[in-house]
Subunit: 157 residues, 3 copies
């Protein structure tokens, strides 16, 4: 029946691991929105005039339409997440469906998600380089490794 | 046969609902590109020198290489879509495969897509706050709720 | 067994084609990060103070915290990729599961990926317009065509 069909994929252990790590890393990415909002409010640095209306009219509110280094830093971290987590989610799904060993798949997922969590701390604290650069490269390499297996397994051009 | 296999997922009603709402909300996001292009052309505000070549050479074309508040507003709405619709598409897929009740799933999908359509109007008109903020929070909460169910159902770390 | 389940989708030829082209176009998008890094290093144009620490302390390093036209151009190409490849990956997956003919599916995937590769060259060289604009429109239309078939096939609102 419908139910049986819908739970097939989700019964597969590699797919369950993919689902777990993908949900975690997407929630981590979503957290960046809250951190941006936190810094916008505490630093009083907004970009839309309608967002400063509660500070009064005219010049008194206008001075809060400005950029703030902390806000911009979180936004760069958020965009870097999009650039790296989108390929992980897409290629990771294909990888999970390509029938890898559970232990190999877990290794890929754990390293990627660990690297991206470290990357966020490295960006926001910030840590001295090459901390952020290395964590970026590790996540990048994991996605590349999964893409290599996907292409080797499914290649149909 | 191949056909039977390929239509299994698509026969599942929750998955069909997911596919319908995901296609709609991704088309809505794609619409932002057209709105950006519309404002770039009507406001004559471009970013690439090669895009202003039809306005002539040298200084006469150079003055159209500028930012415009309406263009920047649409672009912020587009980026906000990316930041919020990407997690919905990824987590929503896992959620649809986790075997939720159709009525519960429809509730999630409808509220999310409704909230994002409202968010776009709130951003572009613009509506006074907290209109845009609330619609953002509603969509965010729906994705969070789906992630919670996914993690509860599939958890394999 | 687990393995049989996990390889069902991947045995479907349309899905294999989808996986191949999606992996290729996501790798192409990931390449934009490397090109950005290349231009940041060769043009000495950075955005984070910690990235210029190796150039020394104080004013000598501060002068490398600047924007560079080549870096900004690659970044715009990268963002345009995100805006267009995310809908392709999401809608393409649903399309691949909607049971299209292999030849029709291959036509969609090949044109999209070809158009996005051309778009990258058009942006980075840059080619005179309407080269970049047309390649963008071609990719956009392919995704729109797949979305139309998805909605026609699965519609459940």
């Amino acid at each position: 029946g419908e139910m049986a069909k819908s739970t097939q994929l989700i019964d597969n252990e590699v797919f369950r691991a993919y689902a777990t790590y993908t949900a975690i890393v997407l929630l981590k990415m979503m957290l960046m929105s809250l951190i941006t909002a936190y810094f916008r409010i505490t630093r009083k640095a907004f970009v839309n005039p309608e967002d400063t209306a509660s500070f009064g009219k005219g010049e008194s509110a206008k001075k809060f339409l400005r950029t703030d280094p902390d806000v911009e830093r979180v936004r760069r971290g958020h965009l870097n997440d999009l650039e790296n987590i989108v390929p992980f989610v897409g290629i990771g799904l294909l990888y999970a469906l390509s029938g890898p060993e559970l232990s190999t798949a877990l290794l890929h997922f754990r390293i990627f998600v660990g690297a991206r969590i470290f990357h966020t701390f490295a960006y926001l604290i910030p840590l001295p380089q090459p901390g952020r650069g290395l964590s970026w490269a590790v996540g990048y390499s994991v996605t590349f490794s999964m893409a290599y297996r996907v292409l080797k397994t499914v290649w149909l051009l």
